[in-house]
Symmetry: C2
Subunit: 363 residues, 2 copies
């Protein structure tokens, strides 16, 4: 990767679907969910082969920054862009693009979530290089994931015509975006072969994305102009905070991508990608035994138990299961969660319920 | 009840089917499994209306005696008969009978487990009075439980002819004993109407049972003669220990009842009896909510969960279940058990497995 290539890790979120292990003050990217490294550490380690630490940026919130610096000391402190409050991915991406443009007007940036799993790192590197190539021809490039199932948990990207130009990989103009579909529609998408999952990974030139922001989100654009001009001066944080407060929270997908021109999708198959989006997805990432069971941080004694994940936080605790199938057991301090795998998405409803009833201590 | 009536509580056991709440050093009778009282306390409290504490005896082991004295201080210390090691119910009953005979040759004794639940105490008292009546006519009386289901967890007593004599209650000569049947046989027993569950509750004159022991278990009988003659002397414990060591472990059912003469069964229906024999039986004893769920000592947040028992040991712990049916969750310190209700009997296999693999700390 040339010296104008940058990686921007999006790490502001505090998702709720891996509760009760992930908590308000311990979002999933900061946790060693899948082994010894935290998801954030793995994300950085996947990138350092392509980007020196000086060209890896992190957009996050203040609470998380200190933990991140401990986990990955190599990234310079000035590469942490602190959102004073969460304002959605459009604002976060805009901030990174504006800051990068000031530093390097020719910058090309990859936007990468901090909390995903990717098994096949070589392919990931290959695809990123390809995406940077395409982005340099003024495209907004999305990394799509070729669907492995009719999942209803992801947004879908509809592929259009293959891009004109000489590319060594299949890459398509984006024809449309589809929100998380129902099961029937998901099956149609899967059968048609013309759709990818939206992975939340993007590559573009900072100039290209800032032009789109100017066209489609003028309020954000003018805020970014002000922030950019104060950046690096003593007024930097004050100006950021003042403008950030006024911004509407919006995702990059709805705010920009859906109406942007020159959007391309580079579909990836075989990447071993997983968004670690809910407890049931961990079966794909971890390595179950022959009965389909997986135990993490727990002594699991299984009797007539199949396809069951036992996720503990105390190796000395004995977890005995008798007659269970397709279940997730998460034993996390003051909370125990037992959930049928196919209902793992409902963990979010539980967290909402706890919030509503002010059970702060469990959040 | 007249002054020759005694209750003997059998409390030596350390069953494994309510593991992990019941442990080697905390057998289930010593635990407040069903409320504020321990099962042992409830057993005593059921009896005090009929028997003054001086006429309640307890056969147990030394380890448990101290906890029992704390739980029920009214029973005189000399009423605790200490088995130096467990030798089955035949030996325990024999010891109680021999000691009682020395104290009161006209004694009639009820043998009662320490760890059962009985909802209808008035009926229990009525039946006990009836059983004492019958026992005084030289019968060995068994309290049978009229089956409510084709259970395979109990031994069955086959009723024969109604007893001759003028009784105000239906009582039958025992025709035979059937071990825990398979499901098909259990259904036949239930349909026939002529069988009761063996509750482990007996009433007899001490003379009658000691004669049967003399006939059928001569080794036990001669040991009891020696123990009885040393009883109350300084050599009491030494003689007990010396003879006890030599005894074969045997149950009163196999050792005596199956070949005894003049065995009668008094079938009880409506007693609300439960042997608290495994986790799934607690649904019958506790009061489930409209979805069939019961929570004990736990904050249970149930989403699409039915017929599930959540049994905790920490009221502050939040136990969330999503999509569970017919499940038992037992959260007990260093062990968590999650078990399909219809496989609750297999908890015993787990305990055996842990013993075999020397996982003492979990037992």
């Amino acid at each position: 990767m040339d010296e104008h290539s940058y990686a921007v890790i999006m790490a502001g979120g505090g998702g709720t679907r891996l509760w009760p292990v992930s908590r308000k003050n311990q979002p999933k990217q900061l946790l060693p969910l899948l082994g010894k490294e935290t998801l954030f550490q793995s994300t950085v380690n996947r990138l350092v082969e392509l980007f020196p630490s000086q060209r890896i940026l992190v957009v996050t919130v203040e609470d998380q920054m200190h933990q991140m610096q401990n986990q990955v000391p190599d990234i310079p402190v000035e590469n942490y862009l602190i959102e004073t409050s969460p304002r959605g991915t459009a604002s976060a991406v805009g901030l990174a693009a504006a800051v990068l443009k000031k530093r390097d007007p020719d910058a090309v940036m990859a936007v990468l979530p901090s909390d995903h799993f990717i098994r096949n790192q070589d392919l990931f590197h290959y695809l990123l290089r390809a995406a940077f190539d395409i982005a340099r021809r003024n495209y907004l490039v999305m990394l799509g994931i070729t669907p492995l199932s009719a999942s209803t948990a992801y947004g879908y990207i509809q592929q259009g015509e293959p891009l004109k130009g000489e590319f060594n990989y299949p890459v398509y103009r984006v024809k449309g975006f589809k929100e998380k579909p129902n099961e029937k529609t998901a099956h149609e998408f899967l059968r048609s072969g013309g759709y990818s999952w939206n992975s939340g990974m993007f590559v573009w030139q900072v100039g290209t994305i800032l032009s789109e922001i100017e066209k489609q989100m003028p309020a954000l654009s003018s805020a970014l102009v002000e922030i950019s001009s104060a950046w690096g001066t003593p007024k930097q944080n004050e100006v950021l905070r003042a403008h950030w407060r006024t911004l509407k929270s919006e995702t990059i997908d709805y705010g920009i991508m859906e109406r942007a021109e020159n959007v391309a999708v580079l579909p990836a198959s075989g990447l071993g990608w997983n968004d670690v989006g809910s407890w049931d997805t961990l079966f794909d990432v971890l390595f179950p035994d022959m009965t389909g069971n997986v135990a993490v941080n727990a002594q699991h004694l299984a009797l007539e138990t199949n396809n069951t994940l036992v996720y503990g936080t105390d190796n000395e605790r004995l977890i005995v299961t008798i007659g269970l199938d397709d279940t997730v057991v998460v034993d996390a301090g003051d909370v125990l969660l037992i959930c049928k795998s196919d209902q793992a998405q409902k963990v979010r409803d539980v967290v909402e319920h706890l919030k509503k009833h002010r059970q702060e201590k469990y959040l």
